[in-house]
């Protein structure tokens, strides 16, 4: 009879965490940042049809880094949750906080119960009615949840990105042009090669839009903002 060999829970969790971190480190980065009229997303993504940033609800957007199939799965589940809640109750009852809690629970359960943890990091942003009322949530592979202010980065080089974003960040909210430049410069600083506009994905949660606030910027749109 073969003996099942013993692995301590600490060791097991550590192995899983390392595995997940390795996967995320390979993922391309995404930045979300407040600007005067809402929230700006800039992602390092050469694809024009597979998006890293997308709409969840009226004033909530989602972004994922890591394994595409896994965060795509979470994105769809988030849309279902939000649409169901908005249908059952009212559109204003759908909040990023409740979604973030849902993601945290889901990722936490998967991390502790499944063989393979999800190799993803998730970013949820909700644009508020006034500047300064925006909310950012970052949820990592084991379900740990961080409530962030002003700006946040996820993906492979997120720590270096955060440091780059911190530099030169003033107290004043930037306009869309300067905010976009600030994000692109941060991306340039952490990557060795130059960041080409066709390698970027840019989206907004624009407070000034009525109803659904999410909007993608085409390459022409943000190239003209950057020039």
């Amino acid at each position: 009879m073969s003996m099942p060999y013993y692995v301590s829970p600490e060791q097991l969790m550590q192995d899983k965490a390392e595995y997940a971190k390795k996967g995320i480190a390979k993922g391309r980065s995404v930045i979300a940042m407040e600007y005067q009229d809402g929230v700006l997303f800039v992602a390092d993504n050469p694809s024009t049809s597979l998006f890293k940033v997308s709409e969840i609800y009226d004033n909530i957007a989602f972004s994922g880094a890591g394994k595409y199939s896994e965060f795509e799965h979470l994105r769809k589940a988030g849309i279902q949750h939000a649409d169901l809640k908005g249908f059952m109750y009212s559109r204003e009852d759908v909040t990023a906080r409740s979604l973030a809690n849902g993601y945290s629970q889901t990722l936490g359960t998967i991390f502790s119960q499944e063989m393979k943890p999800f190799e993803v990091e998730i970013l949820l942003a909700q644009v508020g009615e006034q500047p300064g009322e925006n909310e950012f949530f970052r949820i990592v592979f084991d379900g740990t949840i961080f409530h962030e202010r002003s700006f946040v980065a996820i993906g492979g080089r997120s720590e270096a990105l955060l440091a780059a974003l911190q530099q030169g960040a003033g107290d004043q909210l930037l306009d869309i042009k300067s905010a976009l430049k600030h994000c692109v410069n941060a991306l340039k600083t952490v990557s060795e090669q130059d960041v080409a506009p066709n390698g970027l994905e840019v989206a907004l949660l624009d407070r000034l839009r009525p109803g659904r606030k999410f909007r993608r910027l085409s390459q022409d749109d943000f190239s003209s903002l950057l020039s």
């Binding site: 998006f51 997308s54 969840i56 799965h73 279902q80 949750h81 249908f87 889901t106």
Partner: protein, 278 residues
């Protein structure tokens, strides 16, 4: 928690919100009203005896194509039998950026269908990243009308009129439905509801292809006036209380409301013309 379930069962991973509701929260779908079993049909005598008198009903709505797209309009009155239920009901709903629907029939299920249909379109757009095609939306609505058939047996008829701007063809389109979910495209205009026939006759007399926006709005108002004059269920323009029909225009740029002051001034103008005729 619903989304935990959906993560584990791949068959729920579809683009339809209606299917998602059926699988996860069937009690929230319109079909759940009778717990899945078909009730006995209501007889014609029951209807006559006033079985349905306590249910709010909405009436005349219409759609007309014009040179830039398509217009959709509806009166504001809802009735309960011989009683007036509300003077200010909204029967025209924007369903997404390039489509709208109007409804005739039992008000409760009608509004429920309009709400469910807009969530359905938005859900598809968000999950798949693109909007459904104009015909795709029309077909989906047909399926939802079909799912409503058990309610029709109960006398709760819900008939939508769907209009949209087909960005591929570059023109507005109008679709009508029957209670079985049958979908039929109209080439120029259509009107449904208790005063639908009267409205349609008025449009037929004065319609020309490629009318400008202003003339189309006037034509829609004239049609709604005629319907209100001939049909007790349809509300005319309420000059006293300043309640006027609601309208939306759908063109390449999307759906927009015809502002109330514009409708109001045109209604006043038409009322003056009618007064002179009498």
């Amino acid at each position: 928690m619903e989304w935990m379930k959906s993560l584990q069962s791949p068959h729920v991973q579809c683009s339809s919100f209606f299917d998602y509701l059926l699988q996860t929260r069937p009690e929230l779908t319109p079909a759940a009203r009778w717990g899945g079993s078909l009730p006995a049909p209501v007889s014609a005598e029951d209807v006559q005896r006033g079985y349905l008198a306590s249910i709010t009903h909405g009436t005349t709505v219409l759609g007309i194509k014009y040179d830039q797209g398509v217009l959709i309009a509806g009166d504001r009155q809802a009735t309960e039998g011989y009683q007036l239920a509300t003077r200010t009901m909204e029967k025209v709903f924007k369903t997404d950026s390039h489509s709208a629907m109007a409804i005739a029939g039992a008000a409760g299920p009608c509004i429920e269908m309009a709400k469910l249909f807009s969530v359905e379109l938005e859900h598809y757009e968000k999950i798949d990243g693109v909007q459904l095609s104009c015909v795709g939306k029309a077909n989906r609505l047909g399926q939802m009308v079909k799912a409503n058939l058990p309610m029709v047996m109960q006398g709760l008829v819900v008939i939508p009129l769907f209009v949209g701007f087909d960005t591929k063809l570059g023109q507005g389109r109008i679709f009508k439905y029957d209670v079985t979910g049958g979908r039929y495209e109209e080439t120029d205009y259509h009107s449904i509801g208790s005063g639908g026939k009267d409205a349609k006759v008025t449009i037929k007399e004065r319609y020309r292809r490629n009318l400008p926006e202003e003339d189309t709005i006037r034509l829609a108002l004239q049609a709604l006036f005629s319907a209100a004059e001939e049909d007790v269920g349809t509300g005319g323009p309420d000059i006293l209380r300043r309640i006027f029909p609601t309208m939306k225009l759908i063109d390449l740029d999307g759906v927009r409301d015809v502002e109330e002051p514009r409708v109001a001034s045109m209604c006043d103008e038409l009322a003056r013309v009618r007064a002179r005729q009498d």
